[in-house]
């Protein structure tokens, strides 16, 4: 079988395009959804913590976390719906269950530590969300592990060293950064 260099180039381009499309559709299809979801939740929640009375802000956070947990579970179940694997850790259902359990643990940890102030409450949520994020990165796309670690580092730095600006930093840098990263992953991955 003989083909011209132009045909070979076209075939290689088609292969690369198909591989990239497959990776986007299957391997990374859920990562950007989690980022946009949690970025939005963080932005609303932390702005609430900044401007609303403490009690109301806490209820807003509880509502947002329950909503986030349910939506994360739905995304997890729908992710990789068309792909199945013999490796049990990668199944969508287990990912969904993982997120539900993680939020149960977060709720339980807050209850055990109660009473906590607003910033401590927020840090509990951040710690659990970033653990979930890093776990998803290890399962689905290793590159996003670094973003999860960076967010964890930023949160701890803000909590301990820039405590007065903690809510603002978390809303705009944390939440906004997650949304921006999610849009970037969706368009460029």
């Amino acid at each position: 079988m003989n083909i011209s260099p132009t045909e070979a180039e076209e075939a290689l381009t088609a292969i690369q395009a198909m591989m990239q499309k497959t990776r986007r559709a299957i391997s990374s299809s859920g990562a950007y959804k989690f980022l946009i979801l949690w970025g939005t939740i963080w932005m609303i929640g932390f702005l609430g913590s900044q401007f609303l009375p403490k009690e109301i802000a806490n209820y807003v956070w509880i509502g947002l976390d329950i909503l986030g947990g349910i939506l994360s579970a739905v995304i997890g179940v729908r992710m990789k719906r068309g792909v199945r694997t013999s490796a049990p850790t990668a199944s969508g259902k287990r990912i969904g269950i993982f997120w539900l359990l993680l939020f149960f643990y977060c709720f339980a940890a807050v209850c055990v530590a109660w009473p906590v102030d607003g910033k401590q409450f927020a840090m509990f949520i951040i710690l659990f969300v970033t653990v979930g994020w890093i776990a998803m990165g290890l399962l689905l796309s290793f590159a996003s592990v670094w973003w999860g670690l960076a967010l964890l580092g930023l949160s701890l730095f803000s909590y301990f060293l820039l405590n007065d600006y903690f809510y603002f930093i978390m809303a705009f840098v944390g939440g906004g950064g997650m949304i921006a990263l999610g849009i970037y992953v969706r368009n460029r991955w």
Binding site: M1, I3, P5, A8, E9, A11, L12, A14, I15, M18, M19, K21, T22, R23, A25, I26, S27, R81, G82, V83, R84, T85, S86, A87, A90
Partner: protein
């Protein structure tokens, strides 16, 4: 030296193999998901999958998921090897340009 493979070189089959080798070795993709990914019809995809299956480059598993019949497609080890050789042959043609 790596050789071009006539079965794989056909445009749709080349794209099918490119999609399947992108998956992990223990993963398989559902027929309709692959059809949407490739933007081809059921009949077209089915015909090309049969050719690849006859050549031993892919495996088709039929299963019932939530009481509905589903076909799952994956690349065999032989298919992955032949595809890699085909890509190497294409690259060597470009290098000689």
């Amino acid at each position: 030296m790596a050789e071009l493979n006539e079965t794989i070189h056909q445009t749709v089959r080349l794209r099918i193999m490119a999609a399947l080798v992108t998956l992990a070795p223990d993963e398989e993709v559902e027929f309709t998901y692959l059809r949407d990914l490739l933007e081809v019809t059921d009949g077209n995809l089915g015909a090309h999958l049969r050719k690849l299956e006859e050549a031993g480059y892919i495996r088709i598993n039929k299963a019932f998921v939530e009481r509905k019949p589903r076909s799952y497609v994956s690349a065999t080890a032989d298919g992955r090897k032949v595809f890699a050789e085909h890509v190497a042959a294409l690259e060597s043609i470009l290098k000689r340009k």
